[in-house]
C-alpha cells in the first residue's frame, strides 16, 4: 500500500488513515458499487484551473456521467448556474457534513441515506475537518476525496499528485462512466 503525507504538513492524522488511490479504476468501482453516492463541491473548484478548464467543469461532467447528485457549498451555486447545471442542492459545507453524520437523514434528494460521499474543492483545512467528523461519527459512510492532495481522514484519497496526474486520473475515472453511468 502506498504511503502518503497530508498536504498541510502539520495535519497529522490518527491511527486510521485514508487508503491511497493508486488506480483511479478503484474510485470508479466504488462509486458503481455505492447505492446512493453524493458529490460535494467547494468553492475552490471554480478557482482551480485544470488545463483550459476549471475543476468545476470536470465535476459537472463527472457528476452527469456518473449520475451522482451534487451539493454545491458556499456560493458555488452561482458557478453551477453559469454553466447551466442545476445541482441537487446547495448548502454550507458544515451543514452537509452535519447532515451526513445523521444516519436517518434521507439524503439531498430524499431517496435515502447516502453511503458514499465524494468531496472536492473545499479549502484543505475545512475538508480535513469535515472528513474527520465523518470518519468518527458517520460510521456507515465511506468518503472519497477527489482533490489532488492527501486527506488522511477520508476513506480513500489521492496522494499529493501533480495537476497533470490529477487531470489524467479524473479523466480515467470519467471514462469508466462514459457508457451509461452507474
Amino acid at each position: 500500500m502506498a504511503v502518503a503525507e497530508p498536504w498541510q504538513t502539520a495535519e497529522i492524522p490518527g491511527p486510521k488513515k485514508a487508503l491511497v488511490i493508486t488506480k483511479p479504476e478503484v474510485v470508479a468501482a466504488m462509486i458503481k458499487r455505492a447505492k446512493h453516492p453524493i458529490l460535494i463541491v467547494g468553492h475552490r473548484a471554480a478557482e482551480t484551473e485544470l488545463g483550459d478548464k476549471k475543476l468545476i467543469d470536470y465535476m459537472i461532467d463527472f457528476a452527469s456521467k456518473a449520475n451522482i447528485p451534487v451539493v454545491a457549498t458556499a456560493h458555488m451555486i452561482s458557478e453551477f448556474s453559469k454553466r447551466d447545471h442545476k445541482p441537487a442542492g446547495f448548502m454550507p459545507a458544515v451543514d452537509i457534513g452535519n447532515r451526513l453524520v445523521d444516519s436517518e437523514w434521507m439524503g439531498i434528494d430524499g431517496k435515502g441515506p447516502h453511503d458514499l460521499a465524494l468531496f472536492v474543492g473545499l479549502p484543505y483545512y475545512m475538508e480535513w475537518a469535515i472528513l474527520s467528523g465523518l470518519k468518527h461519527f458517520a460510521l456507515n459512510l465511506k468518503t472519497i476525496t477527489l482533490d489532488n492532495v492527501y486527506h488522511p481522514h477520508a476513506s480513500w484519497s489521492f496522494a499529493n499528485i501533480s495537476v497533470k496526474d490529477w487531470m489524467e486520473n479524473l479523466k480515467l475515472i470519467m471514462e469508466k462512466f462514459e457508457e451509461g453511468g452507474r
Partner: protein, 782 residues
C-alpha cells in the same frame, strides 16, 4: 455595594462606660444595599444553575464535532485511540473528548481575560483608590455594568466593588477547569453546558477589565464622536524615535505616555501599538497610533522602524524578542505572564537599566513596574534611535532575487502555509527578477512565518513577501475611530423598538482576530455592505482595525463614511477585545432599558429575550485564539449566533440547527401557552462560513427572529433575498421557512415569492410572543 475586608483598630478609647485598649475588629464583608431592583433567580450562578437553559439551546443547536486529533493524550493511561467514537481507558468517548477540549480552550480564554481584569483592577486600585467611581458614560449610561448586574446581581459603583465580582469569576473558572480533569464529566452535552458557563464568566472578565480602565484612565465614555485616530505603517514618522507596544494590557503603555508628557517629550516620540494594546493607547492618547492587527507583528518589527519594543500580555508572538534583537531594538517585557526569559530588573534604578539596554549589554529586561517601564522606554528610545538608524531585517530587492535562486521548489513552504499560498511559484518568478507574484501574496499572508521555518535552505520567505509588498505597507494610512466603550442608554432607547420589531434589520458585530482566509479587506467589505444596508455594525479588536484598512474612491475610510452613533447605518468601534463586553451589554440593555425586563440576576429570561427578539449576530472572520472561543461561548448562552471564517472550523465543533427538523423550531406563545412553529430563526448558533459571500448571506439570515413584526420580517427578507440573488445568483430555496404570513413577504417580490410558497405547500402561522421558558407564559392553555 458591598465592602470587603473592613478592619478597625483602636489603641485606646475613653468613654463614659469605660476604657477600651487595643481593640481590633475585622469584618469580612459589609452589605450595603442601595439597589432597589428585586433580585432575580440566579445571582452568582453555579456551574449548573443555568443548565436547563443550556439544554434548551443545545436541543435545538446540536454539536457537530470535527475532531482535530483522533487520540487523547491527557493522562498516562493514554494515548487512547478514540477513532469512531470509541471510548478510552478512562471511559470517555470522542464526542465528550471534543467538548472537553473546547471547554479547556474556553477556560484558557476566560482565564486570560479574568487575569487581565484582575491585574488592571489591582493596579488601578493602587493608583486611584478603591473608591474610584465607575463612570463609563456619565448621565448617559446608568446601566454601567449590564453583564455583571445580569449574572451576579450586584451593581458595582467603585473599583473596589469589582473585586468581589472577580472573586466569583475566579472561583467559577477553577471549578470549570477542574471539570476537564480525567474522570470528571462524561457527557458531551454537559461539557457543552459548561462551555457556555465558561463563556458567560469570560464576559464578566471582559466587562470588569474595560469599565475599570475606562473609569480610571478616562477613555472615551460611550462617546459616539470618539476621535478619529491614525492607523497604518504609513502614519508613523520614521524620523522620530519609535516605541512599539504589543499585546492587550495597556498599563505599561500608559506609563510610557505619562512619562513622555510629564517630561516634555510629547510629540518627540512616536508611540504606536499592535493588537488590542494599540486600541487602548489611542483611547488614552490621541497622538497614539495603531500599526495594525496581530498579523502585522513580524512585518513591522522587521521593517526596523521600532526603536524599543514593549511587550505586555496576550497575542504576542513568542519569538518577538528574537525578532527585535535582529533589528537591534531593545525589548522591555512588562507582564508577569510573559517574561521571555529576561532578567527581572524591576528593582534596579531606571538609569542603570537604560544604560544596559542602550549599550547592548543586555538586549532586554523584565520590568514589572509600569511607571519604570515608561521612564526606561522613553529614555532608551531617545538614545537608541540615533544609534540604530532604523536597522532593518528586510532584504533589498537585489538580495531577494539572488536568494530566491537558492529555492529548491520543494514546496515545503506552501505545505506549511495555513493559506496554502502559491509561494513556490512566486519564488520562481522572483528568481527570474520579478517580485510581482510575491507582492500578490502580501495582503493574503497572515504573517505566521511558518514558511521560513519550513524552508530547508533557510530563506526568509516572509521578509521576501514584505519586501515585495513594501509599497503597499508604506501606503497604509487610515483613520479608525478610537474605541468608544459602552453604548449610551438613550441610544438603546432609540433603537430598541426598531431592532426588536425587526425594522432595523439587525446588529452585526464584526469582531475578533486577523486569521482571515483572503486578507482583511473582506472585513471592510462586510462592514461596508451591512452599514450601507442600514444595519447597526459594531466592531472591536483586530477586526475593527481591518475594517479601517480600506478607502473608497474619495479616499475615505469606512469610519469616516459611517456614523459612530449606535444607530441604523453606523460603524461603531467599541474598542479592544475586552470592549466586546459592550456589545453583549447592548443586547442585554435592549431587554432591560427598552423592554423593561428585570436585569438583576435574571440571566435566563434575558437570554430568552435576546434569542427570540434581538436580531444580533457576531462575525469573527479571523478568529484564531482561545479568547475568541470564550467570547463566542458567552454570546451563545446569551442567544446570539456567531459566524466564524473558514479557519474557525479548527475550533472543531459547530452548533448547528436543522431546518429539516420542524420539531426543533417551536416556541411557546407567552400570551396563550400554545406551542407555535416559528421557523429556523436563527438557524445556527455557531457556524463556519467557507467564503465571504456565504458569510454575508448567512449574516442577513441569522438576523431573523421569531418576534419580528411583519414589516420587520419583510425588511429582513428583502436583504436576505437581495444578497442571495446577488452573491448566489438565485432565489433562496428556504424562503418558505421564514414567511409566517403573506404580510411578511416583501411587496416588490410578492409575485415571485407567492409562487414559491404555493410550490412548497406553505401554510400560514401566527406570530407569537415567543419564549422557550414555560414560566414566562402569562395564560396557560386549559
Amino acid at each position: 455595594m458591598n465592602r470587603k475586608g473592613v478592619n478597625v483598630k483602636i489603641d485606646e478609647l475613653k468613654t463614659d462606660v469605660g476604657l477600651i485598649k487595643n481593640l481590633q475588629l475585622s469584618i469580612g464583608k459589609l452589605i450595603e444595599e442601595t439597589w432597589a431592583e428585586p433580585i432575580g433567580p440566579t445571582p452568582f450562578p453555579s456551574l449548573t444553575a443555568l443548565r436547563e437553559w443550556d439544554m434548551k439551546i443545545l436541543q435545538r443547536y446540536k454539536p457537530f464535532y470535527m475532531p482535530y486529533c483522533d487520540v487523547c493524550c491527557l493522562c498516562t493511561f493514554g494515548k487512547c485511540d478514540l477513532t469512531g467514537n470509541k471510548r478510552g481507558a478512562c471511559g470517555i468517548n470522542m464526542s465528550a473528548q471534543q467538548s472537553r477540549i473546547v471547554l479547556l480552550a474556553c477556560c484558557i480564554g476566560t482565564a486570560t481575560h479574568i487575569g487581565h481584569a484582575r491585574h488592571l483592577v489591582e493596579h488601578l486600585i493602587e493608583k486611584f483608590g478603591r473608591r474610584c467611581p465607575i463612570d463609563v458614560g456619565g448621565i448617559n449610561v446608568k446601566v454601567e455594568a449590564p453583564i455583571t448586574r445580569l449574572i451576579c446581581g450586584v451593581k458595582p459603583e467603585t473599583l473596589g466593588d469589582l473585586e468581589e465580582v472577580l472573586d466569583y469569576a475566579e472561583t467559577q473558572l477553577t471549578h470549570l477547569l477542574s471539570v476537564t480533569h480525567t474522570g470528571q464529566e462524561g457527557s458531551n452535552i454537559d461539557f457543552e453546558s459548561k462551555v457556555f458557563h465558561a463563556g458567560m464568566i469570560d464576559h464578566i472578565g471582559l466587562e470588569v477589565a474595560d469599565i475599570a480602565q475606562i473609569a480610571a484612565y478616562g477613555f472615551p465614555k460611550a462617546d459616539p464622536e470618539a476621535p478619529l485616530v491614525d492607523l497604518g505603517y504609513g502614519t508613523i514618522n520614521v524620523e522620530k524615535p519609535v516605541i512599539l507596544c504589543i499585546g492587550h494590557n495597556v498599563v505599561p503603555s500608559v506609563g510610557i505616555i505619562d512619562y513622555m508628557k510629564e517630561n516634555g517629550f510629547d510629540g518627540e516620540i512616536e508611540v504606536c501599538g499592535l493588537c488590542c494594546t494599540a486600541h487602548d493607547i489611542t483611547r488614552y492618547y490621541k497622538r497614539g497610533k495603531i500599526i495594525g492587527p496581530i498579523s502585522w507583528q513580524l512585518r513591522f518589527i522587521r521593517s526596523g522602524v521600532p526603536d524599543v519594543v514593549v511587550l505586555d500580555e496576550q497575542c504576542i508572538r513568542a519569538d518577538s524578542f528574537y525578532e527585535a534583537q535582529n533589528i537591534k531594538a531593545p525589548v522591555i517585557v512588562a507582564s508577569e505572564k510573559n517574561c521571555m526569559g529576561l532578567p527581572n530588573r524591576t528593582n534596579d534604578p531606571a538609569d542603570a537599566i537604560v544604560e544596559d539596554l542602550v549599550s547592548g549589554k543586555t538586549p532586554g529586561a523584565l520590568i514589572l513596574d509600569p511607571e519604570k517601564v515608561g521612564e526606561v522606554a522613553v529614555k532608551v528610545a531617545l538614545k537608541v534611535a540615533p544609534l540604530r538608524k532604523k536597522f532593518k531585517a528586510i532584504p533589498e530587492v537585489d538580495e531577494v532575487i539572488q536568494k530566491a535562486k537558492e529555492c529548491r521548489q520543494c514546496v515545503d513552504c506552501r505545505r506549511a502555509c495555513p493559506q496554502d499560498l502559491q509561494i513556490p511559484e512566486a519564488m520562481k518568478a522572483a528568481a527570474q527578477g520579478t517580485l510581482a507574484k510575491l507582492a500578490d501574496l502580501y495582503e493574503l499572508c497572515v504573517g505566521c512565518g511558518r514558511c521560513e521555518h519550513a524552508c530547508p535552505v533557510g530563506l526568509p520567505v516572509h521578509s521576501f513577501i514584505v519586501k515585495a509588498g513594501e509599497k503597499k505597507l508604506k501606503q497604509e494610512t487610515y483613520k479608525v475611530r478610537a474605541g468608544r466603550g459602552a453604548i449610551q442608554d438613550v441610544e438603546i432607547r432609540n433603537v430598541g423598538s426598531p431592532i426588536v420589531l425587526g425594522e432595523i434589520p439587525g446588529v452585526v458585530a464584526v469582531v475578533g482576530c486577523s486569521n482571515y482566509p483572503k486578507g482583511g479587506v473582506e472585513v471592510a467589505e462586510i462592514c461596508t455592505e451591512f452599514a450601507n444596508r442600514r444595519y447597526i455594525v459594531v466592531t472591536s479588536g483586530c477586526s475593527a482595525m481591518s475594517a479601517a484598512m480600506y478607502k473608497n474612491e474619495e479616499g475615505k475610510t469606512p469610519y469616516e463614511i459611517f456614523t459612530g452613533e449606535f444607530t441604523s447605518g453606523c460603524l461603531v468601534n467599541v474598542g479592544s477585545c475586552v470592549a466586546n463586553s459592550h456589545i453583549a451589554g447592548a443586547a442585554i440593555k435592549i431587554a432591560n432599558i427598552f423592554a423593561k425586563r428585570n436585569l438583576r440576576a435574571n440571566y435566563e429570561e434575558i437570554a430568552d429575550y435576546i434569542l427570540n427578539r434581538v436580531g444580533a449576530v457576531g462575525v469573527a472572520w479571523g478568529a484564531y485564539s482561545q479568547k475568541a472561543a470564550a467570547i463566542a461561548s458567552g454570546f451563545w448562552r446569551l442567544g446570539v449566533p456567531v459566524i466564524v471564517g473558514p479557519h474557525g472550523i479548527k475550533y472543531r465543533r459547530m452548533l448547528l440547527g436543522r431546518t429539516d427538523r420542524e420539531e426543533d423550531w417551536y416556541v411557546y406563545d407567552a400570551r396563550t401557552g400554545e406551542k407555535v412553529y416559528v421557523g429556523p430563526a436563527p438557524e445556527h448558533l455557531f457556524y463556519t462560513a467557507e467564503t465571504k459571500e456565504e458569510a454575508m448571506v448567512m449574516i442577513a439570515k441569522l438576523c431573523m427572529r421569531p418576534n419580528d413584526t411583519m414589516k420587520g420580517r419583510a425588511i429582513k427578507l428583502t436583504h436576505y433575498i437581495d444578497l442571495h440573488k446577488r452573491l448566489y445568483g438565485t432565489m433562496p430555496e428556504d424562503i418558505h421557512l421564514f414567511v409566517r404570513t403573506i404580510a411578511d413577504v416583501p411587496v416588490t417580490m410578492k409575485d415571485e415569492i407567492v409562487k414559491i410558497l404555493e410550490e412548497k405547500g406553505w401554510k400560514e402561522t401566527v406570530i407569537p410572543d415567543p419564549t422557550l421558558l414555560p414560566r414566562m407564559i402569562r395564560k396557560r392553555k386549559e
